[in-house]
Symmetry: C2
Subunit: 409 residues, 2 copies
């Protein structure tokens, strides 16, 4: 069986994701489609709106055959870390092709850019250092350094968010010497260029979350923006758990942690750099909600996303020491199954013996990989977002939840 | 001016405390009365019902002249630690006499017991070890070892809670070579023996807290049990802060901390011993409130109080490393003023120059004593108990609150 992969967050799954999946099918013509998906915390450094199991279900219902978890160590990392983890997971499962959305839309341009950047690495790195010294954030400095290079105008514009990720996917494939063939679909705004007739039914995930987290009466507004299965899953999640997840509900824990932790201890947390530990401890005292806090700690040097990732690591108690091995060697230690269709299961059965890493379907106490411990801790921290009355049984749900299974008729 | 001292928690101040204060006045005939009082967390390992400033106010209104804070390092310690800290604070302020309530009621018996135990320390320690090896808790084992000694029956019954504290006060005075003269008043049940006619207006602080934390409609029930000033202060506290403090409101933070902390890290917390760190991490997963959690971790080996103290140190992030110097040398580093009357202020003025430790009235950033840092952190943790909407300004109240002042007419 030929397998194609997508790298996703599905927060939540919407029509844009559906078209991306359809496009992937057209471009790759595979037998089985595998999504490697962030768990309960995302690349932007925030909790997912609904749990990874519910998001896995949305994916399966929309046509994905197998959903595997991108471990926390990569899912909450910067583009390079995120991409390497994802590519390594798909490569481990013998995926032959991937397809990603990008603002640029031509895969050759991505390949050329990676080649060009490999050849000009030294010049780029020097320029990057200069831009960072001027006080720019890492992404902004990268973009400026890139644009200052001679051939930049002939390649991909790396100031666009999806281009950046795509570039890192292709670069990871190159560096990991993977045989995966990358493809890309052009997207414009929230949607994909090829899907003009559907444009008015597409909104970004950010837009959809805004509606969901705002006035509940407006829930109907998202009905045209997501598949019916997503809509039903969102309604049912709220009925079961009485909440969607967002930073505000975790703010008291940040407040607590930063109120009783001194800078020296906080410095052990991953991404605590350049005195950021002093800044967050100082600013927490006067912030009465998450947004106020973020606005108080924000500087030109750090992007909003970079700061949110740091706060995520504080919340989940993720240390530099724990992360060090995975920054050194950016590959997954295991394949964690979040959900599968019959077809996905058949594919797993086919490749099982060749896969060189543990495939985890039902978690139990035997699994004590340090990378997995971070996933378990992330799920526990995430569970603190459920209302007090129902959270107890959910704190340990990592051990109690089995993969979502769907039989397509 | 002659100063007499009392060692208190006033959680909250009630009629029994009033009679103890009157008795102290009769027995010592001093010019000024100083209370050394636990801060926001108490010897039983629990948050105080209302803040230390409100409790200081209750004390001043009832006839105390000066309220100083027993630092967190001692206030949340076992009897020996608690007592040594308190005696050292009073000794630093040149208090000549102290008076404590006890089940026994004769000060000579306490002195004899201390002398006897000093002479028979080795025999006692050996017996204590044997009892602990049988699996008894430390207080139970101490009491059994003590009763097994020949002369025990002629001295104080050290299985009674107030006798134990009294014994440790007298022992601390002896060991610190302090010139303080101890006195004691006999108490029976909740009240003091000498105060028969008032017996029906006396209930234990525990009883009063039960009423306050229970049905609010029953608040009237405590009216006859506390001075009017205490009653008013309790009402006004609830109006301002919309809560009294008890473990249940801090349970989510324990849940959070224990959900994202591994045993090795938890082992750095003060009082994490004999694998208790594994036990609390394991049991938190299935507990849905504080009482359920306590019942799950309770064993014969540990008293309820000992376990609550451990949980307090977890909540306040108090480490073995921080506490080590104060267990080695059990004396206060400073005198922190929580409240004073004109008379208390006059006394402070009189002794100021002789006092060999810093007297702290208004806290500011210059004060960076490591013992004081623990008090500040305890106040921050305590503030997390206020409702989310009002807590922000209170997290840093340690720096914003000035001592309570009362002028007696």
């Amino acid at each position: 069986m030929k397998a194609a992969g997508v790298i996703v967050e599905y927060n939540p799954f919407h029509n844009g994701h559906y078209f991306h999946l359809q496009g992937t099918k057209e471009q790759t013509n595979a037998d089985v489609y595998i999504a490697v998906m962030s768990g309960n915390f995302l690349q932007r450094g925030e909790p997912a709106l609904v749990s990874k199991w519910t998001r896995a279900k949305m994916a399966l219902q929309a046509g994905v055959d197998l959903v595997i978890e991108l471990p926390y160590a990569f899912a909450t990392g910067k583009a390079e870390v995120f991409s390497n983890g994802a590519i390594s997971a798909l490569d481990t499962l013998f995926v032959s092709d991937i397809c990603f959305g990008s603002e640029h839309g031509s895969i050759d341009a991505f390949k050329n850019t990676v080649q060009y950047m490999t050849e000009n690495k030294q010049v780029f790195d020097e320029q990057l250092k200069k831009e960072i010294a001027k006080g720019y954030s890492f992404p902004k400095a990268s973009s400026l350094a890139y644009n200052s290079l001679d051939s930049a105008k002939y390649t991909v514009d790396l100031s666009m968010p999806n281009n950046i990720l795509g570039y890192h996917y292709v670069k990871a494939i190159h560096e990991q010497k993977s045989s995966i063939q990358p493809h890309t679909l052009k997207r414009t705004g929230a949607g994909y260029h090829d899907e003009k007739p559907f444009d008015n039914t597409i909104a970004s995930a950010t837009g959809i979350r805004k509606i969901l987290l705002g006035n509940n009466g407006e829930l109907n507004k998202i009905k045209s923006l997501v598949p019916e299965t997503t809509y039903d899953a969102l309604i049912s999640y709220y009925e079961s758990y009485q909440t969607y997840h967002h930073w505000d509900i975790y703010f008291p824990y940040l407040q607590y942690k930063l109120s009783v932790t001194d800078p020296a201890e906080l410095r052990t947390i991953y991404e605590a750099e350049e005195g950021l530990e002093y800044r967050v401890i100082d600013k927490i005292k006067d912030a009465s909600n998450f947004t106020e806090f973020m606005e108080a700690i924000k500087t030109k040097r750090y992007t909003w996303t970079r700061l949110q990732r740091f706060l995520t690591h504080i919340l989940t108690n993720t240390t530099k020491e724990e992360m060090a091995p995975y920054l050194e060697k950016m590959e997954v230690n295991y394949i964690r199954i979040l959900g599968m269709t019959d077809r996905g299961q058949a594919y797993l059965k086919e490749v099982k013996k060749k896969v060189e890493k543990p495939i985890i379907t039902n978690l139990n106490a035997k699994h004590d990989d340090p990378m997995l411990k971070m996933d378990i801790r992330a799920t526990r921290a995430y569970a603190l977002g459920y209302p007090q009355e129902i959270r107890t049984s959910l704190i340990n749900q990592e051990y109690r939840t089995t993969p979502v299974r769907i039989s397509h008729l």
